[in-house]
């Protein structure tokens, strides 16, 4: 952390406080956010009042009318505040390693909530059922579906379906039933919570939001399976939870719920499947339609993003009309449409779509988290020790149970079972997030007289999981990983390991190594023969030349590496010198520095795990790698031209040795040390600073 960072932080803090002070504590004529209240009649009515009262004085030159813009103003302020907090969060670069980004959003929300509560101001009604389900939820779902890495997902589809569907069901029913059991105990004062309410609560609280866990996994480069499991689970989990939630609410609304017969329960099950699968079908149809549309848009490329968004949104809404899962529909639509749309739209539209999607989902999530923070500091609570503690306990217990039980079974069908360590990590990464809170908040108050209790319990679980589990999952993953390789690695080992990783990746590619690749092959053939012809526009000549050029460059670069370089005398000479000193050992510092260089510079093994981060776009690593080969070749070409060599791979680097302050030939003890020191500096990338005072280090 340098001082510029702290300077920025200070500036941000000043800005933040200024912004918050800028909301005057207006009169509280806006009611608390309640269900079904629409905004317009309220403030128009008051606006008329305000106008009427000031009618009798002179014409005002300067008037203030806050009421007009209060709601958009405050919502915008919230979003800005959260964005500033995010900026600050990322400026201080040690923070993202410590805690997930959701923490900072919740903290901001709590701050805003504290301010609102402190100034006795009524918060704008950002959250009611229609707003949430119609405006806040779709962007999040769309973004998840669009950025999903399709190939690993479909490779693991069986396990993911098994795990997420059954896991959600198991969790919901498990938590619900156990809590119902607890409620039966007289001493806790919870006997008025019936079975249905508990089941509903169970389904709400089992909605997992593992964005934080995924961020940690990416950093710790966890294996692809684990990554995909959690990612796939989160994708389907939202849909499943909402479906369950709606089913249970429907049950609750059947007033005489004692008369729920088995036929209703069966109907519930059937409805679950109809809703889920129907949603997917809807989504696929819409995806194809929108892909078809984008085929014809090359003259009006400005509306391409619009098409993409509107069609996805339409799929969501159409599904909602029929009470089919809009989430599934939208996800399926995004997944289907992505491949074809990306081929059809122009580059700018593609970028726009990606960024706009990220922005929308970021805004939605921010709003929800801030609102969550706002609700925390308020009078919306009912605290009941037993309920809350047992909820927390059961969440943890049931998640662990379901993980181990389900994977025990599914491991029998996998050739490569998920280890105990993996399962531990999966069970620990069950963080709850925005969706649980929203569902809790939107419970119909009439049907749930103890709604506040539910909200409080949900909030506690969310806070606990996000803060405590979110912060500790990083160290846990690293601990579990590190535990295996305790000993210090030597340079040789590092190099060999890396070589082997690449080798393994190469062999996997060669032996065509995915499961069901025949299925994938068949789909690809079908795709190529029919779908692509219908849905994709003809290739622009420009793009194919570019890709051809790229391919050629890569080939040339690889060929160049193939031709062995000639041995340069200086290197063998220096090695001879080293050999002569019998007791020359590389000091640990040198080994460290060399290993650092290796770690930073070794060509990264092609990332198998899907790189997903809710708050940022993933970088396209394969493009980068190709580019780097290109750059390297040009770099060496330039070097060879400078030296006047005819062959691009001629004798290297006698020129570079002249950059050293002292040439190796004369001194016996020092050169290798100096080289190592230079290596250190390059590794730290402190520019080209050389060690001006060569330190002479005695051999240990």
């Amino acid at each position: 952390v340098g001082s510029p960072a702290t300077e920025h932080m200070k500036m941000l803090c000043c800005l933040l406080s200024l912004l918050t002070l800028a909301c005057p504590s207006a009169a509280d004529y806006l009611d608390e956010p309640n269900l079904g209240s629409s905004l317009l009649p309220h403030y128009e009515h008051d606006h008329a009042d305000a106008v009427g009262s000031s009618q009798d004085t002179r014409l005002q030159i300067f008037t203030v009318d806050y009421n007009n813009v209060q709601i958009p103003y405050e919502v915008t302020l919230w979003i800005l505040l959260a964005s500033l907090a995010k900026i600050g969060f990322h400026l201080y670069h040690r923070l993202p390693r410590l805690m997930p980004e959701s923490c900072i959003l919740i903290a901001t929300g709590a701050l805003v909530g504290a301010i609102i509560f402190g100034t006795d101001h009524k918060s704008p009604p950002v959250m009611n059922t229609s707003i949430y389900f119609l405006y806040l939820l779709p962007p999040i779902v769309l973004e998840e579906g669009y950025f999903m890495p399709t190939r690993p997902f479909f490779e693991n589809l069986g396990s993911i379906l098994w795990w997420s569907v059954l896991g959600s069901l198991l969790n919901s029913f498990g938590i619900g039933l156990s809590l119902y059991g607890i409620c039966q105990i007289e001493a806790f004062g919870l006997t008025d919570l019936n079975l249905l309410q508990n089941l509903l609560f169970g389904s709400m609280i089992s909605a997992v939001d593992p964005v934080a866990a995924l961020a940690v996994f990416e950093e710790a480069s966890v294996n692809e399976q684990l990554h995909m499991m959690i990612f796939g689970e989160s994708l389907l989990n939202d849909g499943i939870t909402v479906v369950l939630y709606n089913i249970f609410i429907a049950f609750t609304q059947m007033h005489r719920y004692e008369e729920i017969e088995s036929i209703d329960i069966l109907a519930g099950f059937a409805r679950f499947f109809v809703v889920g699968l129907g949603g997917m079908l809807f989504g696929i149809v819409f995806g194809f339609v929108s892909a078809l549309m984008t085929r014809f848009t090359h003259n009006v490329s400005a509306i391409e993003p619009l098409l993409v968004f509107m069609f996805s949104y339409l799929s969501y809404l159409c599904a909602e009309i029929l009470y089919i899962s809009g989430i599934m529909a939208m996800t399926a639509c995004a997944v289907t449409m992505k491949k074809y749309v990306e081929e059809n739209v122009c580059q700018n539209s593609y970028t726009t779509i990606k960024y706009f999607m990220k922005m929308l989902s970021s805004v939605s999530e921010t709003l929800i988290f801030v609102f969550m923070g706002v609700s925390t500091v308020g009078k919306n609570h009912e605290w009941n020790w037993a309920f809350i503690c047992f909820t927390l306990l059961f969440c943890l217990i049931w998640r662990t149970l379901s993980v181990f039980a389900l994977f025990y079974i599914s491991n029998k069908f996998r050739t490569y079972p998920l280890t105990f360590k993996d399962q531990l990590i999966i069970s620990y990464s069950g963080l709850r997030g925005a969706s649980s809170f929203s569902l809790a908040f939107l419970l119909p108050g009439k049907l749930f007289p103890r709604k506040k209790l539910f909200i409080t319990a949900t909030l506690v679980v969310i806070y606990f999981t996000v803060f405590i589990q979110g912060i500790t999952i990083g160290p846990l993953v690293r601990y579990l990983d590190v535990k295996k390789t305790n000993k210090k690695e030597s340079i040789n080992e590092e190099i060999h390991m890396r070589l082997m990783d690449h080798l393994k990746a190469g062999i996997e590619d060669i032996c065509g190594h995915w499961s069901h690749y025949q299925l994938r092959d068949k789909f690809k053939k079908f795709d190529n023969k029919y779908l692509k012809k219908i849905l994709i526009r003809e290739h622009q000549p420009k793009s194919s030349i570019v890709s051809l050029y790229k391919k050629m460059e890569i080939k040339l670069a690889i060929e160049m590496a193939e031709n062995a370089m000639k041995i340069s005398e200086s290197s063998t000479a220096s090695l001879q010198r080293c050999r002569n000193r019998r007791d020359h050992r590389l000091s640990p510092a040198e080994v460290e520095s060399m290993r650092d260089v290796l770690a930073h510079n070794l060509y990264q093994v092609r990332q198998r795990a899907p790189s997903y981060n809710r708050h940022n776009l993933p970088s396209n690593t394969s493009e980068k790698q190709a580019q780097e080969i290109l750059i390297r070749r040009q770099h060496s070409l330039r070097q060879s031209c400078r030296k006047g060599n005819s062959l691009p791979w001629g004798r290297p680097v006698n020129a570079t040795s002249m950059r050293y302050l002292s040439l190796p030939q004369d001194h016996s003890g020092q050169p290798t040390r100096r080289k190592a020191r230079h290596v250190t500096f390059t590794a730290l990338q402190v520019g080209r600073s050389r060690s001006d005072t060569p330190k002479v280090i005695k051999a240990p």
Binding site: G158, R498, H502, C511, R659, K675
Partner: protein
């Protein structure tokens, strides 16, 4: 997915020699046919059709390894022009995972085989020793991601690595002997602590085969 009930004798011989099961052999055979476009053998150019391999920095070495006669157990040196399915299987068998029922001796020889494969990847000139230059070449390829890393640093690292290996077997050479390079025995020593059997393997298809990259 084997439809034939009776296992043809060649297949059984192959299975015995390479240790694959018949399903795996069939699977690999299908892949082989895909790669060679229904000819009999594969050449180096056929590996170009694999798109994901492009981004592998040691791509050339891997393809080389397939044609390396030492790996094919045909000759102590040289490159084959083309390989048939049997050779393909031979190479793939280096990457078989270990089975639970292997005894110590087989485990040891298995391990040695894998390490030999790796050794051949470094040793490009077939002399049985990894010299500094060869090591440097490998390092070069592995580091091809960073254009700013100077060749000096690469050389320093390569030398450091050789020094490490040298110091590990200093007892063998006399005070004035020149350390030529890493021999296979030295190589084995480097790998002593690491269990290569669990790392150097690729799951060959049965059901949901997904590689586990540590």
């Amino acid at each position: 997915m084997g439809s034939a009930q009776s296992v043809p004798p060649e297949m059984r011989a192959l299975a015995e020699r390479t240790g694959f099961t018949s399903e795996q052999i069939e699977q690999l055979h299908r892949r082989f046919k895909q790669l060679n476009h229904n000819r009999k053998t594969i050449r180096k150019e056929d590996f170009d059709t694999i798109p994901d391999l492009e981004f592998n920095p040691i791509r050339a070495r891997i393809v080389h390894a397939f044609f390396d006669k030492r790996n094919l157990r045909k000759a102590p040196a040289g490159l084959a022009e083309e390989i048939n399915f049997e050779d393909f299987l031979t190479i793939m068998s280096y990457f078989r995972p270990i089975e639970m029922d292997m005894d110590e001796e087989r485990l040891e020889s298995f391990r040695k085989e894998k390490l030999k494969f790796l050794f051949h990847m470094y040793d490009a000139d077939y002399d049985g020793i990894i010299t500094l230059q060869e090591y440097k070449n490998v390092l070069d390829e592995l580091m091809s991601g960073n254009p700013h890393l100077e060749k000096e640093s690469l050389r320093a690292i390569a030398e450091g690595a050789m020094l490490e290996a040298a110091s590990a077997c200093m007892a063998r050479t006399g005070p004035d002997e020149v350390y030529e390079g890493i021999t296979f025995e030295d190589f084995l020593k480097v790998w002593k602590g690491i269990d290569i059997e669990t790392k150097m393997h690729v799951r060959f298809l049965t059901m949901e085969a997904i590689a586990h990259c540590y």
